[in-house]
């Protein structure tokens, strides 16, 4: 939560507002990339404004928390679109995502945050090892009995797939079984990865979660750990090493793993000749640079892929991340509707993604707009359909 390390960079933002819009050279269109700036409009909501806010926090100009401070910080989904548009060209070399997460951790450390909804899931993680206030022992209720208890591949399911999007977890398990991959799961030893806490500045418990999860995985003898959740994948890949942990196993997102199975002919799939568009989850796309593998899977299924204008590194956020869905549900759904409209505009009837949290938000928002006639799926579900 040390903001002073970013100080040399505070003078390098020229407020060009590239952080606000998708690359117009690439898409020949004016489309926003920053959800909170687009909705709330004040400069403070732009990445440029938050950089000045960081400076003001370091300089001691902000002496108290106001609702505005919390709104500006916590309506940021942490999508990283600002970093993407800015970094290649500008002189601002700090990592926007890291800066904004550090700002949240800073205000939590001062007792100014987080929001009450975020505190709720912190309490739930401490008590139940998941943010959903669900009973820990119910985490694997969905799991079929005939799962091996050991294997060199461990499937880390994650809280959202365990409690809210079980179809993704079931589909992943069925695809793994169909490929004859020897795999196992952690069972009750699987705890929340800690991503909801990192993204909301509540970092105290995260080390314990990281330590526990890594040890639990180590104890299985896993050589490879796979994730169907983009958030968990990103946390293990990027955040745990920052905490000082080195991972004694390989980690892969299921889209990487399944594509490999397809290439090795370990999955026999029928074609699904449907029109699909693919939403790049922020944690998988911009944060860990996995763009091609999901698309290659869709192509392997003989699907017709319609790209949205804001795709790959320019993808528009689903609106759920960093505690936004919990604390600002209306705003979250507004962002999500923008994305659903874009999916519809792309000419597809199917919106595929590779993150249960994205899917969750898409489904909830989609229900209130039946006229869109979009079916929301995860890549794992498409693979299961194709078995």
């Amino acid at each position: 939560m040390d903001l002073t390390k970013f100080q040399p960079q505070f003078n390098h933002c020229m407020h060009c507002h590239l952080c606000y819009a998708a690359n117009w050279h690439k898409i020949d269109d004016w489309r926003i990339s920053c959800p909170s700036a687009a909705k709330f409009g004040f400069e403070s909501f732009y990445a440029a404004g938050k950089i000045e806010l960081a400076r003001a926090l370091v300089e001691g100009k902000i002496k108290d928390a106001t609702p505005r401070l919390l709104d500006v910080l916590y309506t940021c989904t942490g999508c990283g679109a600002c970093r993407e548009q800015c970094h290649e060209l500008s002189g601002f070399k700090a990592d926007h995502i890291e800066l904004f997460e550090t700002m949240k951790a800073y205000i939590v450390s001062k007792g100014w945050g987080p929001l009450s909804k975020h505190r709720e899931f912190e309490e739930s993680i401490r008590k139940n090892h998941n943010p959903y206030n669900e009973i820990h022992n119910n985490r694997f209720l969905w799991l079929p009995k005939e799962i091996p208890s050991d294997g060199s591949v461990v499937y880390f399911i994650g809280c959202t797939s365990s409690y809210r999007q079980q179809k993704i977890a079931q589909a992943t398990v069925n695809v793994l079984k169909a490929s004859n991959t020897p795999f196992t799961v952690l069972g009750p030893e699987e705890w929340c990865c800690g991503s909801p806490l990192i993204r909301t500045g509540q970092v105290d418990v995260v080390e314990e979660l990281a330590s526990h999860n890594i040890k639990a995985l180590e104890n299985t003898g896993a050589k490879t750990v796979i994730f169907s959740c983009a958030g968990c994948y990103r946390t293990f890949k990027e955040d745990y090493p920052k905490l000082g942990y080195s991972l004694p196993f390989k980690i892969l997102h299921t889209t990487q793993y399944f594509l490999d199975l397809i290439r090795k002919n370990q999955l026999k799939l029928k074609s699904l000749p449907l029109d699909v568009t693919y939403h790049d989850p922020c944690h998988l796309g911009r944060h860990t640079r996995i763009y091609k593998q999901p698309r290659k899977i869709l192509q392997a299924l003989q699907m017709k892929v319609h790209e949205m204008p804001r795709n790959m590194e320019g993808a528009f956020c689903c609106g759920a991340g960093s505690g936004v869905r919990a604390a600002y549900p209306e705003f979250s759904h507004w962002v999500c509707k923008e994305r659903l409209d874009e999916a519809k505009e792309a000419g597809a009837s199917l919106l595929a993604s590779a993150c249960p949290f994205c899917k969750n938000n898409f489904e909830e928002t989609n229900q209130t707009f039946p006229e869109l006639k979009l079916r929301i799926v995860d890549i794992s579900e498409l693979l299961e359909d194709a078995l």
Binding site: M14, H17, L18, A21, E43, Y46, A48, G49, G91
Partner: protein, 469 residues
């Protein structure tokens, strides 16, 4: 006159625009405290940020501000290179980004735009009319069209098309009344698209004043025919002097839409143009050829022939770089690379083309004196070329995170300003605070101040900026 306290002012503003569009929270104020030219324009917090959507709201805001002498700083997009949107005496930042009207009159080749429209939005709106274009500046396309045209920008097409793309405007004066310049005043006028009628062109009275005379709520801008072909060409020369005669001939013979005479220190070349292994200063002219395919071919042959007379050679731009130049020419994005060291400094002015080598030499000398090795000097002849009018801009890439460099850039600013005035220039590019001092401008300055005082007797509009600063 009542003296209102802050909370009363805020609630009055909220009655005008709605409370969700007003803020006095420090979180919103710090976002407007400074820009990247903080070294030469001291940061200062405003007291309020207000986001109107209509001219009626702006009228009400200005009446309130005028009555209670509250400063008002119009903010189109905030991109102006030197502190013009810093509330140097506090007051209201008037964020105009909700005013995004675009109306294109294809037949008349004019567009009406609100102050919140940026160049990317304008260019994309014109996609429906592929035979028309607006001329975008050498500035990020997130800049406000109206603010840029109001302030007179510089454009990659300025050699042929000049810098004046604003025909008439609608402006809310500090007392809340509305002035429509030009033909809108003529009874039964078909359109407000002509400024050169009836008497003085009042658009020019307000243009280039830095938000100090009112709030422009609509501009009528020129649209131009889209050429069949646009081709960038970069010609390398052995030294600075050898670029001058070709630039003059290109201009006089109307061979180019734009010619930039440029130098790059090696590090500047590396950062600007993404090239590696540059060990010596580069002298190069960047040209934009426009016309039909045949015209461009002919122009290219002629420009290269002229260049060859002073040993200039085609650098043969790779395709990806040509594409970048053409895209930036249309709506700039990539040349934000100029900020890759952190900050980009410049002190731009106008002078005759024949003096440009002197401006370059003194710029280089003073950069070295102040220990900057990242000079990118550029100059462009501008239409109309009588007087050999040339835009000059010594740019330095520097690191605003280094306190020593902050001090040195301040010194460089003073040194170059003094040196340019010593050589003799036509004047500075824009009324930036600290650059233009109306007290140094004799009767011109006096009349300018009087006009400002007449229009804005309470000095509420962007105080702390020329002509009263």
């Amino acid at each position: 006159m009542a003296i209102l306290d802050y909370s009363t002012i805020e609630s009055e503003l909220a009655k005008i625009v709605g409370k969700e569009h007003v803020s006095s929270d420090m979180v919103d104020l710090v976002a407007h405290e400074r820009d990247d030219q903080f070294a030469t324009v001291p940061p200062h917090l405003p007291d309020f940020v207000v986001r109107p959507a209509t001219k009626v709201e702006i009228q009400a805001i200005l009446r309130l501000a005028n009555e209670h002498k509250i400063p008002v700083v119009p903010y189109g997009a905030g991109i102006n290179r030197k502190g013009l949107c810093i509330a140097s005496e506090g007051g209201i930042i008037l964020d105009l980004r909700r005013m995004t009207k675009i109306e294109i009159d294809e037949e008349m080749m004019v567009a009406k735009v609100g102050p919140g429209v940026n160049f990317a939005q304008m260019v994309i709106a014109l996609n429906k009319y592929p035979h028309l274009r607006c001329l975008a500046p050498d500035a990020p396309a997130t800049a406000s069209v109206l603010a840029n045209y109001m302030l007179r920008g510089i454009y990659p097409t300025s050699t042929r098309y000049g810098i004046d793309h604003l025909i008439t405007m609608e402006i809310v004066l500090p007392n809340g009344t509305i002035l429509d310049t030009g033909s809108a005043a003529t009874p039964n006028s078909p359109a407000p698209y002509c400024g050169i009628v009836n008497g003085p062109d009042l658009t020019k009275l307000f243009q280039a004043n830095v938000g100090t005379m009112g709030v422009v709520t609509e501009g009528r801008i020129r649209l131009y025919p889209m050429p069949e072909k646009i081709e960038p060409l970069m010609i390398r020369f052995p030294n600075f002097e050898s670029m001058m005669e070709p630039a003059k001939q290109y201009t006089l013979q109307n061979l180019v839409a734009g010619v930039w005479v440029m130098t790059f220190d090696p590090k500047a070349m590396e950062l600007f143009m993404n090239t590696k292994g540059v060990t010596e200063e580069i002298f190069a002219s960047l040209l934009f050829l426009e016309g039909t395919n045949q015209e461009v071919e002919n122009q290219k042959a002629q420009v290269l022939q002229i260049a060859a007379d002073t040993k200039g050679e085609d650098m043969v731009l790779p395709e990806f770089m040509k594409k970048e130049f053409i895209l930036d020419h249309r709506y700039m994005r990539t040349f934000i690379r100029g900020w890759r060291m952190g900050n980009l400094w410049g002190t731009s002015c106008y002078g005759p083309l024949k003096n440009v080598p002197k401006y370059y030499e003194v710029s280089k000398k003073l950069c070295r004196k102040n220990k900057f090795e990242t000079l990118h000097f550029e100059a462009m002849p501008v239409s109309p070329f009588q007087g050999q009018t040339t835009y000059i801009d010594p740019c330095v890439m520097w690191d605003g995170g280094n306190p020593d460099e902050v001090e040195r850039i301040r010194q460089l600013t003073q040194d170059i300003r003094a040196a340019f005035l010593d050589i003799g220039i036509y004047g500075f590019f824009r009324a930036f605070p600290g650059t233009v001092n109306s007290n140094e401008l004799g009767m011109y300055g006096e009349i300018w101040r009087k006009i400002k005082q007449l229009i804005d007797p309470n000095n509420i509009m962007n105080p702390g900026k020329p002509p009263l600063a």
